[in-house]
């Protein structure tokens, strides 16, 4: 245990993801030895994040303004909407450069055991957003796990009656893996979602 403020710093650092008690100490000592202006810049960046980062009023992506960069970009196709669980998923999909439409961040997946039902997600806002008919296709890009699947099932049931084209990201075998190590559900899906070899 260290004295007052140093221990406080170690405790705070130790709460960050991926930082254990040893790592927290190492970072704390690094900061103590570093140039005070550098440390102050880090501190300011941390404070600024809490003040400046907001969530887009349309899609709930992180944003520094009322509307995020993607929602403001006129080159993005307004007729295709991609539904994701977290804003981290927006970043992941953007990195593929495959998608030119817009997003809607649900804020999680339906998980009754954690007390998360449809009302706890941004589904009501989604329905409002779809009301003007500008969106014609919805892509369900929830996680390929049980909760993500159940959320996609629920959303399909809500969206189909609106006459939208509803698609789901294909799930199947990870690129770079061996077939023999695939579990039965993954392999089963890969079979169900197989496509013609001359596409």
């Amino acid at each position: 245990m260290y004295e007052g403020v140093v221990q406080d710093l170690i405790d705070e650092l130790g709460r960050l993801p991926g930082v254990g008690p040893k790592g927290a100490q190492r970072i704390a000592f690094h900061l103590l030895a570093a140039d005070p202006t550098d440390v102050r810049r880090l501190a300011e960046a941390l404070v600024e994040v809490t003040v400046k980062v907001k969530f887009c009023k349309t899609c709930f992506n992180v944003s520094s303004e009322d509307h995020c960069r993607i929602c403001r970009d006129p080159r993005r196709d307004p007729s295709v909407l991609c539904l994701v669980e977290e804003y981290k998923d927006v970043v992941a999909i953007e990195r593929t450069r495959e998608f030119r439409g817009r997003y809607h961040v649900l804020g999680g997946a339906i998980s009754p055991i954690d007390g998360i039902g449809p009302e706890q997600l941004h589904i009501r806002e989604l329905m409002v957003r779809l009301a003007d008919g500008a969106v014609t296709e919805v892509i369900l890009a929830t996680d390929p796990n049980l909760e993500g699947e159940a959320t996609a099932t629920y959303l399909t049931r809500m969206l189909k009656p609106l006459g939208l084209r509803v698609t789901r990201l294909a799930s199947g075998l990870p690129v770079g893996g061996d077939l023999e190590y695939a579990d039965e559900v993954t392999l089963g899906r890969a079979f169900a979602g197989r496509r013609s070899a001359d596409d």
Binding site: P17, G18, I110, P112, I113, D114, G115, G117, P144, N145, L146, E147, G148, E149, A150, A152, T153, Y154, T156, R157, R165, V166, T167, R168, A170, S171, P174, G176, G177, Y181, A182, D183, E184, V185, T186, G188, R189, F191, A192, G193, R195
Partner: protein
């Protein structure tokens, strides 16, 4: 680290660090277990869906100081495969998992009857023959019975007098006769008591008959079963309010397990 093997159903998972999860299991020989699965959240993980809730798996575990670690997992029944594609089964099935976790109160204390009941319940849930709500209510009554809280639906819970009786009381543990009834007892419709009795004994023909002829009794039975469960668990289940109980057409036997990989083709 000593290794051991067991058969288990995954009850729930918690994120741990960057890529791991703590998996809560109900096992055949070791009762409720918590174990770590390393790397399970990576999309290239070798575990795949094997350690997701509902999975019925054959496991190898390594004993650890605080938590054991899962070293191998093979699927016995992929109950989870159909659940994500069926919202009613998903919400009702989740209540079964949470109930099993709550009624088995000690880790590593054998609870083989609860284990067998859960596997049977999940089999019925994914079989597609019965209403998910019926499977759930039947499971809840039976798991309470295994835990020592079997409600009586014919004999008075106070004096043992044979019924049918009109009053039901959670604290008393079942129906009460006119003499034994206490203030605050419910007085459900006679068909409601028949419904609960049929759900407890697994008389599916009777359940189906009452469900079509006495829909009000069915709803009332569901309410009483939920209240009875909550009373015995002290605090309610988180998942219970989310159950989707709309009645639906029966799906063919085994439909959920065999044919539930709802992939929507891109040209659909």
């Amino acid at each position: 680290m000593p290794l051991y093997r067991d058969e288990a159903v995954v009850l729930r998972t918690h994120k741990l660090g960057e890529a791991d999860r703590i998996i809560t299991l109900l096992s055949r020989r070791h009762g409720r277990l918590r174990a770590v699965a390393r790397g399970v959240r990576r999309t290239t993980s070798r575990w795949g869906s094997r350690l997701e809730p509902f999975a019925h798996v054959d496991l190898q575990l390594a004993e650890g100081r605080s938590l054991d670690t899962i070293t191998q997992a093979e699927t016995l029944t992929p109950f989870g495969a159909g659940m994500g594609g069926d919202y009613q089964c998903y919400t009702a099935g989740t209540v079964m998992l949470e109930t099993a976790e709550r009624l088995v109160t000690e880790d590593k204390e054998p609870a083989v009857q609860q284990f067998l009941l859960l596997v049977g319940g999940l089999r019925a849930m994914t079989g597609g023959e019965r209403q998910p709500g019926h499977v759930l209510d039947s499971y809840l009554l039976r798991s309470l019975a295994v835990a020592g809280y079997a409600p009586t639906f014919l004999h008075c819970a106070g004096c043992g007098l044979e019924g049918p009786h009109r009053y039901f009381n959670h604290a008393a543990g079942g129906v009460l006769c006119v003499t034994c009834r206490v203030p605050g007892s419910a007085s459900p419709a006679p068909a409601t008591i028949l419904m609960m009795s049929a759900l407890l004994t697994g008389d599916w023909n009777e359940v189906e008959r009452l469900s079509t002829t006495e829909p009000r009794a069915e709803r009332e039975a569901t309410g009483i079963v939920s209240a009875y469960l909550s009373w015995h668990l002290e605090r309610g289940l988180r998942s219970l309010p989310y159950v989707d109980r709309a009645r639906r057409e029966a799906t063919p036997v085994g439909a959920l397990l065999e044919d539930r990989f709802p992939v929507i083709p891109a040209d659909g």
